[in-house]
Amino acid sequence: MKHRSYLALEGIGISFPTPKGNFTALRDVDLSIEKGEFVALIGHSGCGKSTLLNIIAGLVKPSRGVVFLDGDVVDRPGPDRAVIFQDHSLLPWLTVEENVRLAVDKTMAGEPRSARRDWVLHNLDLVQMAHAANKRPGELSGGMKQRVGIARAIAMNPRVLLMDEPFGALDALTRASLQDAVMAIQAKLNNTVVMITHDVDEAVLLADRVVMMTNGPAATIGEDLAVGLPRPRNRIDMADAPDYNHARHEVLHFLHQRFSNPVDKAA
């Protein structure tokens, strides 16, 4: 019997029925991720990377193939695969603390009230948002909302942390500070992370591996690049590091020469 990784995608494919026949969005996706690994999935818009993340989350059922997590088949969504959504998706009628507590109450149902409360505050502290515990999402900036979104996800103690373009809606400076926050948290918790992104620097800076996807339809994994940079990584030092620039160049080459944006090519 072959060894199966902590998170293993085997022969994943998905197609949707359309009036013009079946449309295949993804095909033959095989991906093995070890425990504690940080993997970035990168590709042009419409390549199905978000669909792939939703399949791992269990929100979308693949037409073919199986996702294994620690030996179990993934067939439905669950709190062991926490998702950080691009639009943060905090519930606006709850305070920051209540938003995180909703997740904690569900994943730590057996624990006493005070322990759950402490855990909520501890996680808010990790993302430096404890000061806003009693605020509502409407009162926070985009970056702060996403910090709370991260707190909610890590508070669930997930086996895999899934991030769907978590910083895509933020301005460049806020994005950088959130990336630093994620790196700091990752250094502490050593989660297994799958992150969708379309930002080359973000992928190379944060990830242990950058998985590049070909263009849709029928997209699949085109290349799998290990980023051998030592941690902790510092964005200022990285700017001059030859390894960093080499990895960056590889990804850029893939995205802009081998598989350039399908829209530009058609034009």
Partner: protein, 315 residues
């Protein structure tokens, strides 16, 4: 997905537009900051506040004054068919000045004298009691049905066409049927209110449920909320703003229906009062009643929207 603004055409007259209400309720924006003049550190904040209120109300008051003046001039001739404001004041003096005739307060409740001689507030209170019952029923049933058709595609396909047809039936058209079913005036009037007010409640609640953002649903799925938890933690609070838009329109419509119902049924109530004063050729009394109806309807609308804002903030 069906358009959430299906009802807009008939809500326009009652409620400007549902969307801004929704936003307001959900985001609960900070109260607009009163512009306090910089140099007026001498002026106390209360005075600034009074001035602000006066500035807001002044145009309304001036407009009312102007309209009354035009009305007075237009209807001041001998042969005028419509009584002028001064004639309304003189001829209906008793009705205007003694609205609480025949109404006794005991503790928190009130008692309305039986028989004809009751002040206009007494009629209004009787009508409000009927509205409270009929509208209360339509709120409960309407929200339940709205959630059902919002949540289940099959139920939506089965029931929505019926609702779309039935909601266009005017309140008075239900009256013969309602009288035939209940045989008595009181339950018929309540049924009439119920059947008039329920449609906007159903359709807006359903639209609210159908428009719960996909990400909120996904949050519920990732957290593996069970159906009950999903209902209380996500669906209900996410739907509250739409629900209260429906309830606001509904309360306005039930107030329209009560007048129609009581005009035909007689006995007590503000609708009866209008019909009675018309039959007694007391047109000035009718005008006084119209003002009362308008003011009470306005207050009902404000009350429901205020409750909606409170609930949305706490939900």
């Amino acid at each position: 997905m069906p358009s959430p603004v299906r009802l807009v055409s008939d809500m326009e007259s009652i409620d400007t537009s549902p969307a801004p209400v929704v936003e307001q309720v959900r985001e609960a924006p900070p109260a607009p900051i009163e512009p306090v003049p910089q140099r007026s550190s001498v002026i106390a904040p209360t005075i600034a506040w009074v001035r602000q209120v006066a500035l807001t109300l002044l145009p309304t008051i001036m407009m009312i004054g102007a309209l009354l003046m035009v009305w007075e001039i237009a209807c001041s001739s001998e042969g005028a068919t419509l009584p002028s404001p001064s004639r309304v004041w003189m001829e209906s003096y008793d009705v205007i000045v003694h609205p609480f005739k025949g109404v006794e307060l005991d503790g928190l409740g009130f008692k309305i004298q039986d028989g004809g001689d009751v002040g206009i507030a007494g009629h209004i209170l009787t009508s409000l009691k009927r509205v409270a019952t009929g509208f209360g029923l339509s709120a409960i049933v309407g929200v339940a049905l709205g959630i059902l058709i919002g949540q289940s595609k099959t139920a939506y396909r089965a029931l929505d066409p019926l609702f779309q047809i039935l909601r266009t039936v005017p309140p008075l058209a239900w009256l013969p049927i309602s009288l035939a079913i209940f045989q008595q005036a009181q339950p018929s009037a309540i049924f009439l209110i119920f059947i008039t007010a329920i449609w906007p409640v159903i359709l807006n609640t359903a639209a609210g449920v159908q428009n719960i953002p996909a990400t909120y649903r996904n949050v519920g799925r990732v957290l593996s909320l069970n159906p009950f938890e999903y209902f209380t933690k996500i669906m209900l609070p996410a739907t509250v703003p739409h629900m209260f838009t429906g309830l606001r329109i509904g309360v306005g419509m039930s107030w329209l229906a009560i007048v129609a119902a009581e005009m035909v049924q007689g006995g007590t109530g503000i609708g009866f009062f209008i019909w009675d004063s018309y039959n007694s050729s007391l047109l000035t009394d009718t005008i006084v009643a119209l003002v009362w109806i308008g003011l009470v309807g306005f207050c009902l609308d404000r009350l429901v929207s205020w409750i909606g804002r409170r609930v949305a903030r706490q939900a």
